[in-house]
Symmetry: C2
Amino acid sequence: MPVIPVNQLTQISTTAFQKAGVPTEDARLITDLLIKANLAGHDSHGVIRIPSYISGVRNNSIRPHPKIQTCDETPTSARMDGDGGFGQVVLTKGVEIALEKCNQTPISLVTVMNYSHCGQLGSYARMISEQDRVGIVLLGKQKGAVVPWGGRTGRLYQNTLAIAVPSNKPFPVVLDMATSVAPFGKILMKRARNEPCPDGWLIDAEGNPTTDPHVDFSKGEAGFLPLGGLTAGGQKGSGLTFMLGILATTLSGVGASGEGTLIISINPDYFTPIEAFKAEVDGFIDYLHATPSAEGFEEVLVPGERSHRETQRQLKEGIFVEEETWQRIQELGTESL
Amino acid sequence: MPVIPVNQLTQISTTAFQKAGVPTEDARLITDLLIKANLAGHDSHGVIRIPSYISGVRNNSIRPHPKIQTCDETPTSARMDGDGGFGQVVLTKGVEIALEKCNQTPISLVTVMNYSHCGQLGSYARMISEQDRVGIVLLGKQKGAVVPWGGRTGRLYQNTLAIAVPSNKPFPVVLDMATSVAPFGKILMKRARNEPCPDGWLIDAEGNPTTDPHVDFSKGEAGFLPLGGLTAGGQKGSGLTFMLGILATTLSGVGASGEGTLIISINPDYFTPIEAFKAEVDGFIDYLHATPSAEGFEEVLVPGERSHRETQRQLKEGIFVEEETWQRIQELGTESL
């Protein structure tokens, strides 16, 4: 099975997007963010998406030259309409605006609507923390396949929260979590591999626990459980999912059937000198690292650390890409239109 | 066992604080917030605290006449030092400042340090949503008895997140959650009643699951599990706990061993008309209410709804207060100093 060096994968993927009519700079941005997901070990958000992204351009569901609009702007906020552009392009623009405002104000909020799949949400929080700001990014919808507490069918969306903070550590300190026990991507991977899901991820159309990844979420029956599941605080996971769904959809203006993102940037310098902030974070990480590990674990890691190690490994060894995906990307990168 | 009408409990509790030297207005505020917790069914954060609060005043660990300082102020932010005052008094002041700023800016952030126990965090988020703003309040420490993912001893604090949004519904829409499976107060209640905790709340000093509420958290051994526990996404609960702990302590300036609170107020009017915002929230609630219920549940509720029903019931029927607590409050409210 193919293991592709990062450079080669970057080059051919960028070319594939360019051939589909995506501007060079955007083609590179989208490629880089997809490859970052692969590097971090989150293959479901990586280059496997390229064929469907390019189909999206071809069938006009993604606009390669969007007219991104910023409205209702204040010194601390903006509301963005991505005009159906790539999620990576639109959200990166949103991050830039949030960061720019956050130079002059301790906290800024940019809300975003009307964009395509954006990949790993943590990437955008990291763009903020890399500029010595605290990044909080929240993506949500009102409707999806997550079972609310006390219910027996999927209703809520697997709303996702990413938080990143600056530190002096050699890895990014970033949390990137869907508010369901398992992210939808993992269920799709189990489905693709025809493997059962672990207990506690899913319920079937009768509301009973199941491990079958092939249950059909599409009719509003069956569903996956919120963080905490049935026995470990699921009422909180459900409540959190509900609240994040409200915030993401109302403030971005997408309404009940759309997806919205909120980007919050906080400038620590308004509260404490940035070096003191980072030293605090470093100390907290050291304290957590010193936790005696549980059986089956070698050590306690902080959010972002495992992905960073995986990234370092794959940067050296190359990225594993499924045969079919690699074939398809090569075709898209070489075929004449 | 005594069931006390709200008026009577309010009067005698207020008097108890006044006799301890707390200014009348503050005595009433503290009392009202404690009683709200009882009304909502969260007795561990209610009037049971009055004797220890008053002891705090007497032994000078709580200052009844604090000089609350606001520093590093900008049009969108402030950092507050509560000078050791009552949590209720200091955080209410923080909310007032966040709200005032949020009239002129879409988002404001007030960080708070140096205050005593503040009761239910959701109360402060509600004060914000009652003014047609979105309230996000976060309380945290770096060190506590919550077991990080992969660890076998308590390390993290049960950091708490409260989010409230305005709506037209007759109940407050408010999430108030500690980031552990069970809040510490519930473990204390099990301890007091000598009842076993449910599976999945606790581990013992050897890192094994236990149901014994009497395990000793004080030595950094034993601990309670983060939201998601061992099988339902605990790595997310652990990561969320860690991140909230960083934000609360760094931006408030309390450092590694203190407790800090962040108060964020968002003015929806900068993004969407408030009536449209509320209509969206109402619609989302209706959609969730229509979820078919699971076995053992009569209906699906949204965050804040159950507490509201309990409040309505106890407002009519009176508040149940343990014999010993009621005796002690009566003494404190009547004895001469």
